[in-house]
Amino acid sequence: MKTDKGGEARRFGLAVLMHLLLVAAWHFFVVLGEVPSFVMPTPVDTVKALFAGDYRWGENLLTTAGEIFGGYALAVVIGIGSALIFSWSRLTEEVVMPLLVSLNMIPKVALGPLIIVWFSYGFLPNTVIAFSIAYFPIVLTTARGLREVEPELIDLVRSIRGSRWQIFTKIQFPGALPYIFSGMKVAAVLAVAGAIVGEFLGSERGLGYLMLQVQVTLDTAAMFMAVILITMIGVVLYGLVLALERAMVVRDARVS
């Protein structure tokens, strides 16, 4: 266990170092290569973009984060909820699952223009796009996890007249948690992409919208800053999911 901790600290240190090296490489590439700033700004110029112009970073950041977290939270709740219904009602699963598998094949970003037609444009449709793209991995992995119960374990519980509810709470659901989290991790990355695509397609706020605005004025530094902020929203979301997984799932049971 002790060596494990040491290894973790080492890996973390290495990760930080590599990120710093990347920023340094970026800086020297621009400076030594004499790259024009409208093609690629230096890291320092990128940070300066935060204070230049009237880009309302805070408001745009909050909008995008709201769409991502909102769509993602919806996907988690409705995704896990529908998988639970499938596991309780065999008929529902048999009827609905083939549809879900097909719907999953639709590239959700292609639905963007349609969703905007249905929900107008702005916060709501972007949240819906993030939801629609994050929903599928969660429902599919959760349904799979709920199906993976050892039949003999059920025999064991039933031999002492355990109830279906006990089987669910003590065996089935905790056993499905690693699957649920693996779906949630995939979904976290997708939700970010979904919200940004929505903003590209039509909106008047958000970091994606801002990128389209500054593209016109060739403020590449602001575009870089927007991408970094979008990435950071994704990192925070992913980190929260990881932390929750660490708290709820025993290490050996995790699905990587």
Partner: protein
């Protein structure tokens, strides 16, 4: 089996029990005419090739599914049996819950039955000590070897103090040496706990080494081929396998299975 007036009432009595699995158009006879008595506190080996209906018979005894013909009686006035809580089960795989520590795994049946947890916890600790896992209460299953996990699953099967322990090829997945050790351990656990045990195996030697009686099942068609007492002294050791009498019993089974 001879029935004498002063013989103790059997704990389990099977009379002409059969079981048919009904499939699409095709019915499959998995157990037929199983007839034998089990005295309280005995260790019965159910031996036979794969597919001869051993697991099916065990499930009938566990009350997990019904049977088609015959009668199954478990319990007697001296040894009452509550089908809702007097069964403990052990399978070939330990089937421990990965997210629970060993002690919590052992406590699962107590939780399901709603037993007082403080007493159950004490009992679980004592059982873990009995199966040789003192000090492992707070480990997770992945930190234990296969043999240790199987010991934990035996403790789990005993935590609610069932009268009947049903074991379905519990050592079938272990390496030969671990299996030998577990055989001796099981004999000790059986003697310490006084449980009635039905022990399913396809190991002929294991069946004779452990059993006070042996039931031989054969497949195609499913049939109970033999039922006899094993008159070998306790406590038994592995060296018993070199005893000529031991050889006679195994030979009898090999003969029934067409392997001589």
């Amino acid at each position: 089996m001879l029935v004498s007036p002063d013989a103790p009432a059997p704990f389990i009595r099977l009379q002409g029990v059969s079981k048919v699995y009904r499939g699409r158009g095709q019915d499959f006879l998995a157990v037929s005419d199983a007839t034998f008595d089990v005295a309280p506190g005995s260790l019965v080996s159910l031996v036979g090739p794969s597919g001869c209906g051993k697991s099916t018979l065990l499930k009938i005894l566990a009350g997990l599914h019904g049977h088609d013909d015959g009668q199954v009686t478990i319990g007697s006035p001296q040894h009452p049996f509550d089908p809702g809580r007097d069964v403990g089960m052990v399978f070939q795989a330990p089937l421990l819950l990965k997210w629970r520590r060993i002690l919590e795994n052992v406590l699962l049946p107590a939780e399901i039955l709603g037993l007082p947890m403080a007493a159950a916890r004490e009992r679980a600790r004592a059982l873990l000590a009995m199966v040789g896992l003192a000090g492992f209460e707070d480990k997770y299953p992945y930190e234990l070897s296969g043999g240790m996990q199987q010991r934990a699953s035996i403790a789990r099967a005993l935590v609610h103090d069932p009268k009947l322990l049903l074991m379905d090829e519990p050592f079938g997945a272990l390496d030969a040496l671990t299996r030998d050790r577990m055989n001796i351990e099981l004999l000790r656990i059986w003697q310490e706990s006084g449980k009635t045990i039905i022990f399913v195996t396809h190991g002929v030697q294991e069946a004779v080494l452990l059993g006070t009686q042996v039931v031989v099942l054969t497949a195609g068609p499913a049939r109970m081929a033999d039922h006899f007492n094993v008159d070998l002294p306790h406590p038994r050791r592995l060296a018993l396998r070199n005893d000529p009498k031991f050889g006679e019993y195994t030979q009898r089974i090999y003969h029934l299975l067409g392997l001589d």
